[in-house]
Symmetry: D2
Subunit: 138 residues, 4 copies
C-alpha cells in the first residue's frame, strides 16, 4: 500500500504578519503532497509533462482549522478520491505532527491537457498512467 503521507515543516517566508502560515500556502502544501503521491504511484508529474500531459487545476478549496506556525512540523494526508480519465479529484488533510490536530482540510480537482491546453482522456492515449491512477482511487 502506498504511503500517502507527506511531511514538512513551515518556512519563515511562508508566515504572514498574523504570525501564522499564510492561508494560500496550505494549498501549496496540498500540491507538494499530490506531486509526492503521484510519484509514488508511478505517475511522476515531471515524467507526465515530458510526455505532453499537463495537469492544471480546475478548482481548489481549503478549510482552515488550526494555524500552522513557523517551524511547526506537519504532514499532509492525500487521497485520490475520484478519477475517470478526464478528471481527478484529491482530498487533503494537513495535521500538526505535535498533536495530530487538523490544521486544514481541502480538495483540488484537475484535468489533463496537452501542450495547447486542450483537455483529453488519459485512457486512450496513456493507458499505463490511466491504470495506475484508476487503481489508486480509495
Amino acid at each position: 500500500m502506498i504511503n500517502n503521507c507527506y511531511t514538512r515543516s513551515a518556512a519563515y517566508y511562508e508566515t504572514d504578519q498574523m504570525g501564522i502560515v499564510h492561508h494560500t500556502n496550505h494549498i501549496r502544501y496540498y500540491e507538494e503532497a499530490r506531486v509526492d503521491f503521484m510519484h509514488k504511484i508511478g505517475c511522476d508529474v515531471k515524467e507526465l509533462e515530458q510526455n505532453g500531459i499537463y495537469i492544471p487545476n480546475i478548482d481548489a478549496y481549503a478549510k482552515y482549522k488550526k494555524p500552522i506556525k513557523f517551524s511547526d512540523k506537519f504532514y499532509v494526508e492525500v487521497r485520490l478520491a475520484q478519477f475517470n480519465g478526464t478528471k481527478m479529484h484529491y482530498e487533503y488533510t494537513v495535521r500538526l505532527c505535535e498533536n495530530d490536530e487538523i490544521a486544514s482540510t481541502g480538495y483540488t480537482t484537475h484535468c489533463f491537457v496537452d501542450d495547447d491546453f486542450k483537455p483529453f482522456n488519459l485512457k486512450k492515449k496513456f493507458p499505463v498512467y490511466y491504470n495506475r491512477l484508476a487503481e489508486s482511487v480509495t
Copy 2:
C-alpha cells in the same frame, strides 16, 4: 457606490512552468482585492489590526476557467455577500481586461479574532466597523 473592482497585471514570478499564473496566486489576488475593498468602505485592514482585529481565513475556494498569463491585465470584482458580526463571506470574479472573460471565480470566509486568536463579534466592541461592513453587503 463603492468601486469594487481591483486591477493588476500578472508578474513573471507568479507564473509556473505550465506557462500560466500558478493557481494559488488567484487566491492571493482575491486577498488583494478584498483588502482594497475593505479600505474603500472604511474598514482598512491595517487600521483594524492596529485596533487588535485580525481577520484570518476560515476557508478559501477558487474555480479556474481561463489561465492568466504573464503580463495579462486582469481585474477582480469583489462582493461582500454575507456578514453577521462574527463572520464575513466574500465572492470574487477575476476577468481578463482584454476580453472580459472570466479567469476564475471564488470565495473566502473570514472571522474576527483578537491578539490571542480568540474569535469575537465585531458588533459590540467595534460598532463603527460593524455598521460599515453591514451596509456594504450586496
Copy 3:
C-alpha cells in the same frame, strides 16, 4: 525620456511574521520594475520570449535600509546601468511614497539565452532590441 518609476503597494501575503515585507519580495519588486521598464523601451519581455529570447538572472543583490510594511505604497526606480549585447545589468532603488526614504537598493544581472538555455549575443540576431537596450543605458 522614459519614466523609469514603478509604483505599487505591499500585499498582505508579502509580509512575514516580523511584520514586514519578506526580504525576497524586494527582489521580486525589482523584477516587476524591470519588466515594466523593458516594456516601456520597446523590449517587452513577453514579446522577447515569443521570439525565443529568455532572460535568466546571473545574479541578484539587495541591501535593506527600511522595512516595507503591509499596505505601504512604494516606488521602484530602475536604471539599465550596463549592456553589451550578451549581458545587462540593472540597478534599483525602492522608496516609500510617504517620505521618499529608501527601503532597499539592489541590482540584477541578466544574460540572453535561447530555448535550450544557450547564451547568445542580441546584437546579431535581434538588432532592433539590441539598439533599444543600448540606447536606454544611463
Copy 4:
C-alpha cells in the same frame, strides 16, 4: 561537528515559465538552510523570537550557475562566515544532488533587533546565544 547541509526538492509552484525555479526562491532556500543551521547550533529562530530577538536581513546576494528544475533534489551548504555580536554573515552553496553541480552561491548578512526594530549587541543581553554563534564561525 554540525551537519551544515540542508536537503530538499523543488516544488512545482516554485518554477516560473522559463521552466526553472524562480531565482528569488534560491534566496528562500538560503533562509531555510540558515534556519536549520541555527537550530542545530542551539540558536533556534523561533526560540530567539520568543526572547525578543529578531534577525532581519541587511542584505542578500545570489549568483546563479545552473538552473534548478521542478522536482530536482538539491542541498544547501551553509557556513557562518562572520559574527561579532551585532551582525552575522552567512555563505551558501546550493548543489544538485544528482551530480553535485553548483546551482547557486550566495550570502546574507543579518543584524539583531528587538521588538521595536532597534539593533543591539547579542553579547551583553544573550551571552549563551552569543557564544553558540561565536563558536560556530568557520
